[in-house]
Symmetry: C2
Subunit: 241 residues, 2 copies
Amino acid sequence: MPHRLVRNEWFAELPPEVVEQLAQRAHRRKLADGQMLYARGDAPQGLYGVVSGRVELRASAPDGREIVATVHEPGNWFGEVSLFDGAQRVHDAFADGATELLVIPTADFHRWLATHPELYPHFTRMLCRKLRLALGVVEALVFLPLSARVAARLLTLAEAYGRPSADGLLIDRHLPQDLLARMVAAGRQAVSRELKALEAAGAIRVAYGKVVVTDMDRLREQAGDALRLAALQDIPAAPQR
Amino acid sequence: MPHRLVRNEWFAELPPEVVEQLAQRAHRRKLADGQMLYARGDAPQGLYGVVSGRVELRASAPDGREIVATVHEPGNWFGEVSLFDGAQRVHDAFADGATELLVIPTADFHRWLATHPELYPHFTRMLCRKLRLALGVVEALVFLPLSARVAARLLTLAEAYGRPSADGLLIDRHLPQDLLARMVAAGRQAVSRELKALEAAGAIRVAYGKVVVTDMDRLREQAGDALRLAALQDIPAAPQR
DNA sequence: GCCGGTCTGTCGCCTGCGCGACAATCGGCG
DNA sequence: CGCCGATTGTCGCGCAGGCGACAGACCGGC
């Protein structure tokens, strides 16, 4: 198992030899750009880890509108809800670029976990974290105007992909405005307008398919109330007793 | 422990004597109407079970707007997220009517659970269920018009509180339109309008502080796409009377 | 039966944002 | 180095729904 896959929150804290047992159950799977991994309603196959490429989890309405719930990068694991409750997939999953995955079949995962019950608290914490994120999204949608959602999103993107560059922190990832729009559940044109506003405020600079954050503090100002929600998304490793 | 509290999904499937061990750790707490149990950001005290009365979990914006995330009825347990991850409360909790709770302190719960690791899968499933609910709410907010959200909500309320009456299924619970509005994250007047529309469509009849579903199928039609999400909707365990 | 608080119906204004349309750029690939 | 698909800027229409303002209906308690 590539060690980057065990360096993330899912497995990083666990003893290496324990993770190794699990890794032996995994097999690999390759996806072409845009290929569907699963669709909402599918029966779960297992837990997925991204080795290379990317996987977008999306929700879509019958009328064609869609939102991007998450984008999983190399090192991320996903598919845990169906893993733990065995029920249908909630989202549609598509490869973004040629992608290689590690797949741990549901049954193997559970056999492994059964022999390591001490790991359960760890996984319940993972689930709680997802739950808090989802609740934060609900609040953001209900309470925050688009401007704040965009600003907040850029902040988290900057943290995840930020790389210092000439005139600020470059979000080093292909980020067309309509992807950003689907991430904040909005239309492309509206996002374009908000980006212009942020640029006028001196918080960012927009380039072709890219965004550079020139002033994090100013961006934080624009996010406003969203920060209160951001705090919820940042879960301290609280002792579970 | 009143047996109504162990009849719900949280503990119903578990061996009675195991639940009994836990029950002995619980203590009681009374709240007056409208009293706050906890606020967002508070450190968690434990897991709560509603013995009598009701508890509303709400989220509110600084500007005063607020939504009702859930209403817990007698027999329901809540507060599990903070229980499992130890972090701050996400919502504000208020008693609706004079309320009596059973409180299981966090530490006691975990001591108990540690001696029954076989129960972990059960609790991860509970968390997954909440997560699915939250994801369903996100989709409903993004994709569905208010009319569908109202119709869908009435359907779940009818399932939970429905009682046959002269001209249909009475939702037997104090349900002013502005409560309904806060449940679907909308304004009171808009909900009023939608209710009128549903009435005109012959799906419901609105009374003072009450709603009677006269035609479930017609109501389902109005909910439309929401039914796809319906499986994800929150159904408060029916109040046990 | 009366009163005050709670609910509902309705009208109207206003704003945020979806969405179509199109022109202007950009940039990778042949 | 030029073409074409991808991306962006912008204008404008349309509308769902937020919100204030009342007026009227209801109801439980006294």
